[in-house]
């Protein structure tokens, strides 16, 4: 009896989380006139909202920009953060502990304080309306550094020493000997970085004005609040679906890794 109540409660919760997404997708495929009364299925499916959206905003270009920016950022974070993590874990040098504490300390710094000055830096470096503005500030990440450091500390010393004896440089040890052994960490950092970059919208709104450089979330946001959707629900929802879809597809394949990544980022405090 108690079990049944638990199942009912959990199922109601699951519906609460899933149904709105179902509704959004079906609504984006419904005739505009039916969205207001839609509960489960429209009388017919239509791509009208999507064709209208494609004719109104360069969403294809925004999709390309988003993929480019997220890929560059993710590659950069994995390369640079692993190098710093490697140095902190396996190299002896003066100032190592200082850098470690700086990393811990800066993690607690609220972004509100750096937002305006960073925008001014972008203006002064002439980077407003460039891809660099979307990528550079996110290229290093304290949390990723700590994850890599932790992973490298867990590596068997013998593996590293053997590679040294074979005459491997540190870069080769890092990227060729150790990387294959820390795939889970790379996946976690990769998913977190890609997702954060994909979903980042405040910074994009600040540094990008040129429509051809806008990423998906910015484009969809401006489309939604600006007048161009002409208060048509269908096109707004279609653009939201297109923004959600890539991450949702990735989630359906790598669900476990997504949950693990996000949980580890929550546990950092």
């Amino acid at each position: 009896m108690k079990k049944i109540l638990i199942y009912i409660f959990l199922s109601l919760a699951a519906i609460t989380f899933l149904y709105p997404f179902y509704w959004m997708i079906v609504a984006s495929l419904s005739p505009e006139s039916e969205i207001g009364g839609l509960l489960f299925l429209p009388s017919e499916f239509t791509f009208a909202s999507y064709t209208q959206m494609f004719s109104k905003i360069p969403i294809g270009r925004a999709l390309f920009n988003s993929i480019l920016v997220a890929t560059l950022t993710t590659t950069g974070v994995i390369a640079f953060s692993s190098m710093v993590g490697y140095a902190l874990a396996l190299m002896e040098f003066k100032g190592r502990n200082v850098i470690f504490y700086i990393i811990i300390f800066t993690m607690t710094l609220p972004f509100q304080i750096t937002l305006i000055p960073n925008y001014i830096t972008m203006v002064k470096l002439d980077l407003v309306d460039t891809y660099a503005a979307l990528v550079l500030p996110f290229l290093l990440n304290s949390f990723a550094i700590l994850l890599f450091r932790q992973a490298f500390l867990g590596m068997p010393r013998a593996l590293i020493d053997a590679a040294r004896v074979d005459g491997c440089s540190d870069l080769r040890i890092l990227f060729q000997v150790l990387f294959p052994n820390i795939i889970p960490t790379i996946v976690i950092v990769g998913i977190l970085t890609f997702m954060n970059s994909w979903n980042e919208v405040l910074w994009a709104l600040i540094v990008i004005r040129d429509e051809s450089l806008m990423t998906m979330p910015q484009m969809v946001t401006l489309f939604s609040v600006g007048g161009r959707a002409e208060s048509q629900l269908g096109v707004k929802l279609a653009s939201a679906v297109l923004l959600a879809l890539p991450i949702m597809i990735a989630y359906s394949f790598f669900q476990k890794y997504f949950i693990q990544s996000m949980a580890s980022s929550g546990l950092k405090e």
Binding site: Q112, L233, L243
Partner: protein, 285 residues
């Protein structure tokens, strides 16, 4: 051997460069800006503490703080209760665990932009899904986003819906660290379900509760895209959030000095609130 000396510095050089340009410099520059007036184009003008006095007399600034605390007051308890309840149920011996977990987690990975556009429709006054359901069961329509007394609450509920899946997972991790032997011992003593939860589970997952409160607080102070898309800060500025106000001062009026002052103060406030929470929650157990 000699070249080895500088190699570690080469490895950390990108980090140091990034630290200087995007963290250290901005913090000091931010402090500098709080004593100046600047619209980026004309020369910087020293104004002493004028930005600070203006801030404390600015009704919109107090409104934004009030709104943020209102958000937190609704959001944090909701978040804790639902996350803990869902985690506790998922932690029982039940089937389809993976499915439930995946369902709860879905809004977490989706962009806030998507969630906001979606909920804007759900909360719409005339054709919004929630009001339509209310009418079906014979209740009055509610002005979820157009009533100044309710709008911030609606956003807090939406934010809970978006984030709760993450906290379910964090609580699950916490619950699994409780040794089963504790429960067994309590059962022998004849403890009820509630007693076990109250006197064993709650104290032991206190660190997770603390974490959820902190993360929700930081989230509340970072609230931006939700009011930006849904309400533009309205009605009657009832959903004007701290970050939205910084954004408006900086990019609608180009008051760089003043918006930097706001940013500086909000950052300080977040650290203060987190420290108070830390003290309170940790001594509470």
């Amino acid at each position: 051997m000699k070249k080895k000396k500088w190699l570690p510095y080469l490895f950390v050089a990108p980090y140091l460069l990034h630290l200087i340009v995007f963290v250290a410099f901005p913090v000091f520059f931010s402090l500098f800006l709080t004593f100046h007036k600047w619209n980026i184009i004309s020369p910087v003008e020293y104004v002493g503490v004028a930005n600070y006095t203006r801030m404390f007399q600015d009704r919109m600034f107090w409104k934004a703080i009030f709104n943020t605390f209102k958000f937190l007051l609704i959001h944090i308890p909701l978040q804790l209760i639902f996350a803990l309840a869902l985690a506790e149920f998922l932690n029982q011996n039940i089937k389809f665990k993976g499915f439930y977990r995946a369902a709860f987690f879905l809004p977490v990975i989706v962009s806030g932009v998507v969630v906001t556009i979606l909920w804007q429709q759900l909360l719409g006054f005339d054709s919004g899904l929630i009001n339509r359901l209310l009418v079906i069961i014979g209740l009055e329509k509610v002005g979820w986003l157009i009533d100044p007394n309710i709008a911030m609450g609606s956003i807090a509920v939406m934010a809970t819906w978006k984030n709760v899946g993450l906290y379910v997972i964090l609580f699950l991790v916490g619950l699994q660290t409780v040794p089963p032997s504790y429960y067994e011992a309590a059962e022998i003593e004849g403890a009820s379900h509630w007693q076990k939860f109250r006197y064993i589970t709650l104290p032991l997952i206190n660190p997770t509760i603390f974490m959820v409160v902190i993360l929700s607080t930081i989230g509340g102070f970072s609230l931006f895209i939700e009011p930006y898309i849904m309400t533009g800060g309205g009605p009657l500025s009832s959903t004007l959030s701290s970050v939205l106000y910084i954004y408006k001062q900086a990019f609608e009026y180009y008051h760089m000095g003043y918006s930097a002052t706001l940013g500086f103060f909000f950052a300080f406030l977040i650290l203060m609130v987190v420290m108070i929470q830390k003290k309170y929650i940790e001594t509470n157990d």
